[in-house]
Amino acid sequence: MDTQAILHVQNLQKHFPIKGGLFSPKGSKRVKAVDGVSFSLARGQTLGLVGESGCGKSTTGRMVARLMDPTGGRIVIDGVDISQLGGRELYNFRRKVQMIFQDPFASLNPRQTVGTAIAAPMLAQKINPSGGMKNRVKELLEQVGLKPEHYNRFPHEFSGGQRQRVGIARAISLNPSVIVCDEPVSALDVSVQAQVVNLLQEIQRDTGVAYIFIAHDLSVVRHISHDVAVMYLGKIVERGPRDELFHDPKHPYTKALLSAVPLPDPNAARLQQKIRLRGDLPSPANPPSGCVFRTRCPLFSTLGEEQQQRCITEIPAPASTAAPACHHSGMAAAALADVQ
C-alpha cells in the first residue's frame, strides 16, 4: 500500500492552548487534540477514521484538508509536504484535497442557488471548464444523481440526502486526489444514507479519488473502507486492513468499541460478547500517563503489577499496520474472554 500512496501523514499533531485571559499567560497549558497520528492512503482507497467524540478524528481530517494548521508533523500529498504551506502554494494545493461535511444544509449558503454553490470552487480556482461553467455544473449534478434543472434551485428546496449530493458535487468539481468526508451520512435516515454511500463508492470507482471517511458509525465505516484506523484521545490505537481489524481486533479498545455496536439481528445480539467500558473519557487536557487507555482498559485489571506499571509509565509505540498501540495486545484475546 505504501508504495503507491498518494497521501502520507506522519506524526501529525494539533495542540490547542487553553484559553488565557488578559492577566493569565497564554499557552501554559495545552490540549493535545491530535497527538502523533500517522497513516497513508493509496489512490482509489478509503481510510475509515473511527473513534468517539473528542478522539481527534475530525481535527485530523481538517488538518489534512488544511482547514486547520497542524502543530507538528508532516502531511505529504503527491510527494509534497503541505503541512506548512501558505499563501499561493496553499491556494494551489486546495484543489487536491476537498471536504464533505456532516450537515449539508449548514455548509450551503441559503441565498445561493445550488448551481452557484457548485461552481464556487471552480471560480475560486479560476478554472474554465471546456464547454462552459454552466454545462460543467449540470454535468456534475447528473453525476451525483440530481437533475440538470436543479441548477437554479435553493438549498431549502432539497431534502437532506439531496443536499448531501450537492455537497458531493461541489467537492468533486475540482477533481481532487483526496476527499475528506467528515460524518457525511450521520445526519441522514438509514434508507437515504445507503443512497449516499453508494454514490460515494461509485464516484471512487469512476475517478479513483481517495477518501478519508470519518464516522462514528462503525457499520458504515466497515462497509465503505479499505483500511481503518481507530482513534482514542488523540492517538491511533490500532490500524489495518478492514477485514482484519473487524474480524480480529487486537487493541482492547477496538474490541470494546466493536462489541458495543448494537447488531440489527436479535440472535446475534444475544450471542455477542459484550465488553463494557467503565467510566468516562478522561479529559484531553489532562490525559493519563503512559498508555492513554489504561484508565478504562478492561485488560488492565487482569495484569500483574509489573505489567500494570509498564502501562502507567511507558507510552506504547504508535500503532502500525503490524501491531496496535498496546503493551499487552498479545494476551488481550484470552484475558478479555476471562473478564467477561
Binding site: K19, G21, L22, F23
Partner: protein, 333 residues
C-alpha cells in the same frame, strides 16, 4: 468569582483611560478654539494668547492630557502663572463661561438626570418585560397582535412628539399634572417622594413609550424561543405546574438578553437624556451638555462626555456580573 471581578475591574480601568484619551484628542483636534470662546466678544490677538496661557493650552498636547488626568486623582492648580486658583479633587477643569468648577456643575445636574433615569427605567422594564411575556404566552392571539402592534407604534414615536403631546394633554388641557419644576431633584427631598413622582411622571412615560417597545419585542422573541426549548419540555414532563414551568424554568432562562439591553440603556441614559431634558426643561446632564456645546464650553462638554462613557462602561461590567450571577456556565471562564 473574585478573580472574575478583579479581572473585569482591571479591564475597566484600561478602557476608561483609553476612552478619556480619545475624547481628549477629539476635542483638541476639533474646529472649536476654546481660547477665542473663552475670551469673549471683544477679543484681540493679545487676549487670545492670554487666554491660551490661562487655559494651559500653551503646553504640548500630551502634557495637557496628563495634567487633566492628574486632576482626576488629586487637586491641581489651574489658570495662568501668577493668577492660579486651586481646583479641588476631583478636578475636571473650570467652565470657560462661569469659571465654576466643572465637578460642581456635574454634581448639580446629575440628580435631575438620575431622577429621570431611575423612574423611566423601572416603568419601561415592568411594562416592556410584562407585556412581552404576556404576548409570548398568548402567542398568535389577539392580545399578542395588539401588544406587538402597539410596540411598533411606540418605537416610531420620537421623544419630542410624545413629550409635547403628553404636556399638552395632561398639563395644559386636563391639569392633572404640574409642569416640571427644577426645585425637585430627588425622591427624598423636602417635597417628598410623591411630589417627585408627579414631577417626573411625564418624562418617564415619554421615555418608557419609546424604550419599552424594544423590550417587548426582545422579551417576546426570547420567551417564545425559550418556551420551545427541550428543558421546558422536560419541566412539563416532570409534572410541574404551568406557573412554575413559566416563571422558574422559562423566564429565568429567557430574560438574559433583556439584562444586556437594560445595562446598555442605563449607561446611555445616565449620560443624559438630551431630548427629554430639553422638552421638559429639566437641567440634567443632557441639558447642560447641550448648552455647553453651543457656547463652546470645552471642559464641561468634555467632562460630561467622559462621564457618559464611564457610565456605559460600568454598565457593561455590571451586565457581565449579572450574567455570571444568572448563568452558571459563564462563571467557568
Amino acid at each position: 468569582m473574585t478573580r472574575f471581578i478583579f479581572r473585569r475591574a482591571g479591564s475597566l480601568i484600561l478602557l476608561l483611560v483609553t476612552v478619556s484619551f480619545i475624547t481628549f484628542t477629539l476635542f483638541q483636534l476639533g474646529p472649536a478654539d476654546p481660547a477665542s470662546a473663552a475670551c469673549g466678544q471683544e477679543c484681540t490677538p493679545e487676549r487670545i494668547t492670554e487666554a491660551r496661557v490661562a487655559l494651559g493650552m500653551d503646553h504640548p498636547f500630551l502634557i495637557q492630557y496628563l495634567d487633566y488626568m492628574r486632576g482626576l486623582v488629586s487637586p491641581r492648580m489651574i489658570g495662568a502663572p501668577g493668577a492660579e486658583s486651586i481646583c479641588q479633587w476631583p478636578c475636571l477643569g473650570k467652565s470657560f463661561q462661569t469659571n465654576e468648577n466643572v465637578s460642581d456643575i456635574i454634581a448639580r445636574s446629575l440628580p435631575y438626570t438620575l431622577s429621570i433615569a431611575v423612574g423611566a427605567l423601572v416603568l419601561w422594564t415592568i411594562s416592556g418585560v410584562g407585556l412581552g411575556l404576556l404576548a409570548a404566552l398568548r402567542k398568535g392571539s389577539a392580545t399578542d397582535k395588539f401588544i406587538v402592534g402597539a410596540a411598533s407604534v411606540g418605537v416610531s414615536l420620537p421623544i419630542p412628539v410624545t413629550g409635547l403631546f403628553l404636556l399638552l394633554v395632561f398639563v395644559n388641557q386636563l391639569h392633572l399634572l404640574p409642569f416640571t419644576t427644577n426645585e425637585i431633584n430627588g425622591a427624598f427631598g423636602p417635597h417628598g417622594p410623591w411630589a417627585w413622582v408627579l414631577n417626573y411622571f411625564l418624562p418617564w412615560v415619554a421615555l418608557a413609550v419609546l424604550f419599552s417597545a424594544a423590550y417587548i419585542r426582545v422579551t417576546r422573541t426570547n420567551m417564545i424561543e425559550t418556551f420551545s426549548e427541550d428543558f421546558i419540555r422536560t419541566a412539563r414532563a416532570k409534572g410541574l405546574a404551568p406557573r412554575i414551568v413559566t416563571f422558574k424554568h422559562g423566564v429565568r432562562a429567557g430574560i438574559t438578553p433583556v439584562v444586556t439591553m437594560l445595562g446598555m440603556d442605563i449607561g446611555l441614559l445616565l449620560g443624559g437624556a438630551v431630548l427629554t431634558e430639553q422638552i421638559f426643561s429639566v437641567p440634567g446632564l443632557g441639558f447642560t451638555a447641550v448648552r455647553a456645546a453651543i457656547s463652546g464650553d470645552l471642559p464641561v462638554t468634555m467632562a460630561i462626555t467622559m462621564l457618559a462613557a464611564f457610565f456605559v462602561i460600568v454598565a457593561n461590567v455590571a451586565v457581565d456580573l449579572a450574567y455570571a450571577a444568572i448563568d452558571p456556565r459563564v462563571r467557568l471562564q
